[in-house]
Amino acid sequence: MKWDSFQFSLGGMLGPIMPKCQGCIRRQELIKRLEQQVEKLESEVAKLNLLLTPPDNPSQTVVTIDAVPPEAGWAHLKASVTGFGKASLQDAHDLTIEGEYAVLIVCDGAGSLKHSKAGADFVVKHLRDSFLELIKAGEAITQESWAERARALLLEASQALKSKSQSDRMNFGDFGCTCIVVLAGPDFVACAHVGDGRAGYLDASGHWRALMTPHKGALANSTVFMTMLEPASLEQLVRSKFVPVRTRAVVALSDGPEDVCWQVSTFDPSGQKVIDPNQPSNEFLGKIANQLAGATAKNVPQEKLDKLWQDFLREGTPKLKTQVDDKTLLLALRG
């Protein structure tokens, strides 16, 4: 029996029981000292765990997103801004609305390559034209056809870039950039990509879901580029996803702002490993989507919205302020 419970069990009848035996007193003091030491050690361990254990990825709560009037079509935000301290932008983007369809394209030029911005600009423009043509042609986009169609269009863009670099007598490899295409239609959302960055959509339950798994090496910032596409490597390098649902919102971003709006790195205690949960943040994206819905209801002009969005990407949070990578984030919300 523990000394405390012995005291407690008799204390009610006899008052506090004090041990008379000197050995008992010494043992009691020893136990107290040991308990204090254990408590101190536990507190130290807790402090260390706090340092070593990364933040959890708790199951997320749904953020209800306000309705956008149907006549507004797709409300959207789009911007690319240079990373902190960088002289020039190497990201490029396009967000085009065509009736029921929204096409989001993000390209991130490789920092170390001298013509990567030109590569990113070229790929964005080429793919925007290709996907618009596809939509306008009324071609059915289905689960069966998407992967092959998207791979063909991305390869075509890469080959067109190659031809241009050759005719300009430049090294094709210097035009390296990543690429993400998100296409949201009346009853589906689809994604194809080469390289890193993130893309996602809002599901019917109100949770944001990832649409792609980025190509990432063990070394930070290592990935694959559009200039690496060859017919033989196409299946391996172009990843695609097709979800047959009507979504209310889609998002696509370069890797610059991913750390801010996406759970990309967390500790898995079961495997004792750091993992990439690739989980868009309901809180972050929901909040932004709601502010977009609010601004749309007030008929804020698109240029103004994009300017405010640019300001946010530049320094809207502490991490965005100091991020040296370029930051592109596109978000479209269906009315």
Binding site: A218, T266, S281, G316
Partner: protein, 229 residues
């Protein structure tokens, strides 16, 4: 006019790691002001990292190796914000080659650990600071060490940077360094200025900037003695 800025709280993520192995000469010639300034410089370095607003203390893992008559791993790589630094003391000769090899081994082991635990990382750094020349029985190993460093730099396994303090044989540092990162001479005993530059440079690298841009961006006038062969 609508002027309401967008706002949202950012997600907390696990930080990518950047490992730096400091390989430090603690031979007898470093006695006195040199070792005092080096110790002070490292302490200031740790303070700056802990104060970094971009959370560098959670990204930078620092390991310290000393070389004199022996090579000692004084601190295994650990988050800089939790490293409890104890001042270094001097002793004996200059086992520089073994010291640098231990630094390369240290960052290589750390990289393996990052891979095993699924962590992404930036290319690690091995930074050697000396005021001398290797012991005579190590001189024969210099060409081999130079080849190992060349290979490691070419394979993008690590960055190697050699810093010479007054008295250092700069030709030796030139021999083992890669042209992508030439040896530098410390002006006087400006260790604090060097470590301030290092902390700013690593902070930029840990935010994703490439190393040559980060090195150019951070002014090194305060400590760089301007060595050139």
């Amino acid at each position: 006019m609508y002027e309401k800025p967008f706002e949202a709280e950012e997600v907390q993520n696990y930080s990518q790691k950047c490992c730096v192995a400091l390989v430090l000469d603690t031979s007898s010639s470093m006695a006195g002001e040199s070792i005092d300034q080096l110790n002070f410089g490292i302490q200031s370095f740790l303070k700056e990292i802990r104060a970094d607003t971009a959370n560098l203390g959670q990204k930078l893992e620092l390991g310290i190796i000393t070389f004199d008559t022996a090579v000692t791993r004084v601190f295994e790589p650990q988050l800089a914000e939790s490293l409890k630094f104890k001042p270094l003391s001097v002793n004996g000769t200059t086992m520089m080659v073994d010291g640098v090899r231990e630094g390369i081994k240290m960052v290589s082991q750390r990289k393996q650990w990052y891979k095993q635990t699924g962590q992404t990382y930036f290319r690690p750094w091995v930074i050697m600071i000396t005021d001398g020349d290797p012991d005579s029985d190590q001189q024969g190993e210099l060409p081999k060490l130079a080849a190992e460093i060349r290979q490691g730099m070419d394979d993008e396994d690590f960055w190697f940077m050699a810093i010479g303090v007054t008295g250092a044989k700069m030709a030796t540092l030139e021999q083992i360094s890669h042209e992508k990162m030439e040896p530098r001479k410390l002006a006087g005993l400006k260790f604090s200025e060097f470590f301030r530059w290092l902390s700013s440079t690593i902070a930029d690298v840990a935010k994703g900037q490439n190393v040559s841009d980060a090195m150019k961006k951070n002014s090194d006038d305060a400590w760089d003695g301007g060595f050139k062969i």
